[in-house]
Each structure stands twice: as structure tokens, then as C-alpha cells.
């Protein structure tokens, strides 16, 4: 059985150095006016969950989908990580990070998950994770988790300052810069040595 989170799934924006570099001086300009202090989080609602191997529907009004390849921590208890799982956090591409991205990120099926939860012990140090993204077999992105702004431990601590991640909740470590785009018909495959493979295909929504 492919893993499905029992709790709320949180994503993290701007947790990779490349994302900050891409924004550069814009972070100090309106509407942002300053770089973020606390972790910038968002929620992927349960209607977005797609298990490994399933097709993901893309509405006709969305010509391209942004691939947010990442790894999520899944909680055993507050402050304690049960394990890690691959996630493909799909978005309708959007340039502004000023308002919460609900209508860009919470489309039905827009979060590939799995295939399996790997225990924290087996998975090893999250800062050593390396994730490859292939679209139709072609390598399009390599995410080095050594480039995280806050490592897994620091991210958990910073989030825990203002909210509790309970058993079953999941927190993504971030997606890196240079996220590839995909379209209907494309097969997206995420691979990490210690976590396995997550594969989903984009199909036209009925």
C-alpha cells in the first residue's frame, strides 16, 4: 500500500538558498518589503493527495504545471520524526508569493506522495538527501538538501515555536530552485537513493 498522511501536510517555501538567490533584491521591495523571518509555510489539503503510480488530473485552463520535488518529514509525536517520504508538490505556476497560494496549490490530486514512508533511522541525515527529477525519463532537476536554509532539525524547531506538528502531520523540507515544468501526458519521476521512487503521470482532467 502506498503511504497516505493521516494528518495535515505543510509545505515550506524559501528553504533553499537557490530560491533566495533567485529573488535577490526583490525580497526587500513591495509587496514583501523584507526577507521572511519565520518559516514560510503553506498547506496541501487532503483533496490533493495522489498515491504513487496514480494519474494526476490537470484542468484544461492550466497549460503547464510546476513540479515541486521534495521530501517530507512525517511526525511520530510533537518534535519526533517517524520517517521521511517523497512528495511531488505540484502548483499552477505563480510569480507572487504575497498571498496564500490556495488556488494554485490545492487542486485535486496536486500532491504526489510515496511510495513508502522510510524510518528516520533508515533514511539517514536529511541534509545528505539528493533527489533527482525525471520527466519522461529525462533528468530535469537535482535537489541537494545540503542547500537547505534551515536543516530538518532547525526547521522543526522554528515551526514548533508557533504551532505543534502532531502525530501523522507532515512537513516538507522545501523544493529547491529551478523547478521544472510539466504538461499533460508527462510522466514525472522522483528518485532518492534512501527513499525510493515516486512516479505520477499528468492527464487531462475529465
Amino acid at each position: 500500500m502506498s503511504f497516505i498522511p493521516a494528518g495535515t501536510v505543510y509545505g515550506t517555501l524559501l528553504n533553499f538558498r537557490g530560491e533566495l538567490e533567485a529573488l535577490g533584491a526583490k525580497m526587500n521591495e513591495p509587496p514583501y518589503k523584507a526577507p521572511p523571518k519565520a518559516p514560510v509555510l503553506y498547506i496541501k489539503t487532503a483533496n490533493t493527495f495522489s498515491t504513487n503510480g496514480t494519474d494526476i488530473p490537470v484542468p484544461a485552463r492550466v497549460p503547464q504545471v510546476e513540479v515541486g520535488a521534495t521530501i517530507a518529514m512525517v511526525m511520530k509525536a510533537p518534535g519526533e520524526v517517524a520517517g521521511y517520504v517523497l512528495m511531488n508538490d505540484l502548483s499552477v505556476p505563480h510569480a507572487s508569493f504575497f498571498r496564500p497560494p490556495v488556488n494554485f496549490k490545492c487542486l485535486d490530486g496536486f500532491l504526489g506522495i510515496g511510495g513508502k514512508l522510510v524510518t528516520a533511522e533508515e533514511a539517514g541525515d536529511p541534509s545528505q538527501f539528493r533527489l533527482e527529477v525525471r520527466i519522461n525519463g529525462e533528468l530535469r532537476q537535482t535537489v541537494h538538501f545540503a542547500n537547505m536554509v534551515r536543516d530538518a532539525h532547525a526547521l522543526l524547531a522554528a515551526v514548533g515555536e508557533f504551532m505543534t506538528l502532531a502525530a501523522g502531520d507532515a512537513l516538507m523540507l522545501g523544493c529547491g530552485a529551478g523547478r521544472p515544468l510539466a504538461k499533460v501526458g508527462d510522466r514525472i519521476e522522483l528518485r532518492c537513493d534512501s527513499l525510493g521512487t515516486l512516479s505520477n503521470t499528468l492527464v487531462a482532467a475529465a
Binding site: 497516505i4 498522511p5 493521516a6 494528518g7 495535515t8 501536510v9 505543510y10 517555501l13 524559501l14 509587496p31 514583501y32 518589503k33 523584507a34 521572511p36 523571518k37 519565520a38 514560510v40 509555510l41 503553506y42 498547506i43 489539503t45 487532503a46 483533496n47 490533493t48 493527495f49 484542468p59 508569493f97 504575497f98 498571498r99 496564500p100 497560494p101 490556495v102 488556488n103 490545492c106 487542486l107 485535486d108 508557533f162 504551532m163 505543534t164 506538528l165 502532531a166 502531520d169
Partner: protein, 255 residues
């Protein structure tokens, strides 16, 4: 009909109101203050989607010096944010401005996908009251309102009652009010919402499937003020309920 979820003698029970007391699902009749109140929601098989609206009333948008939005300003919460009637909400030390927001809350009754506005009410299971506290000190302009402002543990009291939709013939003409220590600080009417409940069901279901038990917190009108430690904040909506909460400081809750 309306029901509550409460903990009585360590057991979670559903309850109905009977002659100013709670009739528990095991037949017991107990006073309101003999129980600990939970949000009036049944558990869901998957994580609950909790949608909330910002700048939803024309007057509140004006108060915050924004122009009224052309499409809804929407944010999400996790279930950690919810707490029940007569519970407390933490005001962290050093905070300058923490305010309540009295909000009509829609509880989805049927799976909703591409619902037309004219059919929207068929998909509503019921209503309750939310107090969607915000701590403005923590506002940042990234995915604003950010989760540090709006997704704090227990900072969204909900309840006391789940009021079935059939008992609310028109949710768009309900008086809302908030009192702080008995003094009225906020009053409005759901008729002044910029985007009404049927619009919201159509809008959300146009891009995401809503399931029974999902929530939509519909935003707050004019009149938000800072709440101090020890304040008793009562958010009330005509025909839906009167939700009480107290502001607690860190030392009371062992932080």
C-alpha cells in the same frame, strides 16, 4: 437540531441542549459547566480542510486600509488551530496586538465538486461560530496572512454548536457581535459579506473537492480590538451560537 461535542468524565460524547442543560448521548443530563467543550465536529477519515477568508466584509477591508478584493483572499488552517467553547487561547509574552475575529463558519455536508451557486445550499451541512484570532505582530508579507499569525495552536475557538442547515433558513441576514469583558466591541451582519456563502461554495468547488466535515470560515466585519491577558471574549452569531474564550498568558499554561 443542534449538537455539541464534549468531554464528560473523560469520555468524548455528543450532546444536545435540553432545558438549559446538556443531554448526553448516553441519556445523562448535565450542566454546561460540567463538561469540557470540543469543536462540534465529527472526526474525518482524512485531514480536514479548513478554509478561511480574509478581508471578507467591506467595512473590515476599509478598516485595514486595503481596497475590497476582486477575488477572495483565502488561507488554510490545520486542525491544531481549533479549540472548543469555554477554552483559553494563548497570548504570548511581548505581543502588542492580538485581536479576535467573529466569523460565521460553514460546515460542508456533501462532497462538492463544480457546484453552481444556485445549488450551493444543498451542499451545506450546518453552521457554527469561529473566533479566528490573529496576532498582528507576526504578520509577514510572504503568503500573508502567514501561518505564524493564523495557525497557532488553539487560537481558533469553534462552537459551541453544530447547527443543522435546515434550522438556518437564511445565513446571509444574521447579526454578529463580539464582546470583551461584557462590552460590545464588534457588531455587524452577514448581509455585508463581499462574497456570500453560495459564492464561496461555487468558488472553492471550482478547483478543489470539498468533503463532508470541511470548514469555511467566512471572514469578519469591522471592529477588531486588542485583547489583553484575562479578557473574556464572546463571539456571537444570531441563531448559531455564543462562543466564549479567555485570553491566557504563558505562565498559566506552563510555558
Amino acid at each position: 437540531m443542534k449538537f455539541a461535542r464534549v468531554v464528560y468524565e473523560g469520555v468524548v460524547r455528543t450532546a444536545r441542549e435540553r432545558a438549559g442543560q446538556l443531554l448526553l448521548d448516553d441519556g445523562g443530563l448535565v450542566p454546561f459547566d460540567a463538561v469540557s467543550w470540543l469543536p462540534p465536529l465529527n472526526p474525518m477519515p482524512q485531514p480536514r480542510t479548513i478554509l478561511a477568508l480574509g478581508l471578507k466584509y467591506a467595512d473590515h477591508a476599509k478598516e485595514l486600509a486595503f481596497k475590497a478584493p476582486e477575488e477572495p483572499l483565502v488561507f488554510l488552517k490545520g486542525e491544531n488551530a481549533l479549540t472548543g467553547h469555554r477554552q483559553f487561547t494563548r497570548r504570548p509574552a511581548g505581543v502588542e496586538f492580538m485581536h479576535y475575529e467573529c466569523e460565521l463558519t460553514v460546515i460542508v455536508g456533501k462532497t462538492a465538486r463544480n457546484v453552481k451557486r444556485s445549488d450551493a445550499y444543498d451542499f451545506i451541512g450546518g453552521y457554527t461560530v469561529a473566533n479566528d484570532y490573529a496576532i498582528r505582530d507576526y504578520l509577514e508579507n510572504w503568503y500573508r496572512p502567514n501561518l505564524r499569525v493564523k495557525n497557532r495552536d488553539g487560537a481558533t475557538p469553534l462552537g459551541p454548536w453544530f447547527v443543522e442547515a435546515a434550522d438556518v433558513p437564511d445565513p446571509m441576514t444574521l447579526a454578529l457581535s463580539t464582546t470583551v469583558n461584557g462590552k460590545v466591541t464588534q457588531s455587524g451582519n452577514t448581509r455585508d459579506m463581499i462574497f456570500d456563502v453560495s459564492f464561496l461554495i461555487e468558488y472553492f468547488s471550482s478547483f478543489m473537492t470539498l468533503r463532508p466535515g470541511d470548514l469555511i470560515l467566512t471572514g469578519t466585519p469591522d471592529g477588531v480590538v486588542d485583547c489583553r491577558p484575562g479578557d473574556v471574549v464572546v463571539t456571537a452569531i444570531e441563531d448559531i451560537g455564543t462562543l466564549e474564550n479567555r485570553i491566557a498568558v504563558d505562565r498559566e499554561i506552563g510555558i
